[in-house]
């Protein structure tokens, strides 16, 4: 029986490594902190931290061993009085930026963070130009030049 359970657990872990979604959620009853405020902080921090051996899962969702270790580590740091940022910095020191599901705002990630606003600005500029050009007033202005205007224009061009 115990062998069966162990096999089952191993199969679960194997499935996880094979990139299949893990069954059953993560946080175990024995991990939970007594202080509800601290536990709530631990949960929301966990959602920001990547389970390093999984595919696109936070440590809050994953039931891999490493995720459990990281969850315990986060809780340990919090009980020792670290702020949220300090906990994240602690993890980045050890595992690199890869551990953060929300990349930091640094020069290397500028394209990621500024790409959206840049697209929006460019798109908005193009849209505004397009809409302005389609205005009835603008369309009227764009009417072909009269013979008089044409002559004037040619005269101006000659002057140059």
């Amino acid at each position: 029986m115990t062998g069966g359970r162990r096999r089952l657990r191993r199969a679960a872990l194997l499935a996880l490594c094979a990139g299949l979604a893990s069954p059953a959620p993560a946080v175990e009853p024995d991990e939970i902190l007594d202080d509800p405020a601290l536990e709530a902080r631990a949960r929301s921090l966990s959602e920001e931290i990547r389970c390093l051996v999984c595919r696109n899962e936070s440590i809050d969702e994953s039931n891999a061993e490493l995720a459990k270790d990281l969850r315990l580590l986060v809780r340990e740091r919090l009980t020792e009085g670290d702020s949220d940022d300090e906990v994240l910095a602690y993890l980045v020191d050890r595992y690199g930026e890869y551990v953060l599901l929300r990349p930091t705002f640094t020069a290397g990630n500028a394209a990621l963070w500024l790409g959206g606003p840049a697209l929006l600005l460019i798109g908005a500029a193009v849209s505004i130009l397009y809409i302005r050009r389609a205005r009835p007033e603008a369309a009227a202005n764009a009417a072909p030049l009269s013979a008089e205007e044409q002559a004037k224009l040619e005269a101006l061009l000659k002057d140059d």
Partner: protein, 666 residues
Amino acid sequence: MIAEFGHFALVLALMTSLAQTVVPLVGAQKGWVDWMRVGTPAAGLSFVLTAISFAALTYSFVVSDFSVELVASNSHSLKPMLYKVSGVWGNHEGSLLLWVLILTLFGACVAWLGGNLPDGLKARTLAVQGAVGVAFMLFTIFTSNPFTRLEIPPLDGADLNPLLQDPGLAFHPPFLYLGYVGLSTAFSFAVAALIEGRVDAAWARWVRPWALSAWMFLTIGIALGSWWAYYELGWGGWWFWDPVENASFMPWLAAAALLHCAIVVEKRDTLKSWTILLAIVAFSLSLLGTFIVRSGLLTSVHAFASDPTRGVFILGILVVAVGGSLALFAYRANDLEPGGVFSVASRESALVLNNLLLSVSCGVVLLGTFMPIIREAWDGEMISVGPPFFNLVFTPFMLVLAAVLPIGAMLPWKRGKIGKTVRTLLPALIFAVSVLALVWAFETGRSTLAPVGMGLAAWLVAGSLWELAERAKLGRAGARETLRRLSRLPRADWGKAVAHAGLGILFVGVGGIEAWKQEDIAALAPGESLEVAGYSYRFDGVERVRGPNYFAERGLITVLDDGREIALLTPEKRFYPVAGMPTTEAGIDSGFFRDLYVVLGDRQGEDGDVWAVRGYVKPFANWLWFGAGIMSLGALLSLTDRRYRVGAVAKRKPVTAASPGAVPAE
């Protein structure tokens, strides 16, 4: 024998698709009508042959012919019939054949239903559709043949991944493919129009039903996938911003933008080059999605076994299709403009804003999905881009979109007054603001997103309904007159209101579940309880059960509300011995206002009867899928509008004139 027959039919389909590509295209360039008309029977034949091939593969799965390698590695004789059939597309090769089948089906639909299309446009559209078919058939036959035989067949199969043995997931891929591939038709129309160098209101009218149906199928497919993830993956998440999810979401956003701007082309003969570009981009994103899933480039929980040759082949298709069509676009775009005149406050401008928001949000998702690869190639730095990033950067677009939608949807064409439209919508606005205030007061500032989300949801639903009421002169004319006007409204207008209201309902679901979900976890002995949000989950023990091809431990959990029993939930931990894989089945009591959701965790200690139990309360969870369903219903209503119905246009004068006057702009 049957498998060889299927293989042979697929090769024949490749030949007819080649004919479908070359003959009508040459005919259209040379002006030979009889050559152009070859497209119609060729497209029909390609579909019939692919269908025969697909039927042969399905037959092999149904009778469990384990001498076929694909059946042996993805099926099992004990599997329920539904999953034997859905196993056909639960793997790379079979799903590719399904993709080709749907591609040829859409080609055949254009051929059979497009009787009113001009010969040239129809021939070129079918040719482009045929070319896409040729590429994918070559891909199937040369890199992913589903009909390969095994020299020594095994006694039984290796079973389908148990996670895929689920009714929700059985139908998720077909709908998703109907959506992805439906966009190929819009793409074919766009490229055909570029080759012809002409886009007019009639073109937009022909292309819009295809964009609309593709979007509808994508909506259903994505919603099915999300629903499945919610009840199957075991923690009640409904969207994970996984690369493969994003791969289906980006075409959805692009298709949503496309079907809106196609209206502008149809009604006002402007925004033409943008519409063409969007049609190309939408299908390119579909191809990109296929590439992501099948190349293993982005690791994901969805990825099929990755194979570099396949990745390179799809990349080839992607480069030729995207590069070729964009080059053609660059060459032709100047011939397409200019178009109609409209003022700043007008429906046209509102739809430009809609397209701006949808396409930039799509760009943001694209950027986030691919940034880890780009960054790694750039300076070798490994980064992760996950849900916290996407939620932060994507949500604002949707909030702005929802805030302006009811106003934009009611602005008149050509020239309107924003103040006047807002005044008309005042009752809806008041309703929305009261909902916002009410929710704010109720939850005493726990989250700001919830009141805003609920307020916007109310704004969307009330705004859409109020627009219908206004057009029916509710309260200003008699009840009989109102009813008469309502029944006379075009189906497309009903569809628009219903789809927009559906988005509002979806907002309720997102807001409720994200802001107010509650959960608790505890190790429980039989008789003990867990309290979540006022509900008491009483653990009554675990029983062993045996399914057709799995064993399960089933928890018995009684939910009590104030001491009154309201539900018996039976979450399971299943184990599929053939695949050697465990799965979880959540116990869910679905309700109008909340889902009670419970998952059985691990046994605590080796042989005790104490188990970890996780109880959740998920407010408004059902509204998510219900909202998506309403949105697709809206699309369906629009599709039945007589303007888009086949034949209806033919009976009227075929609209080829490019003048905006040809289509009444309301």
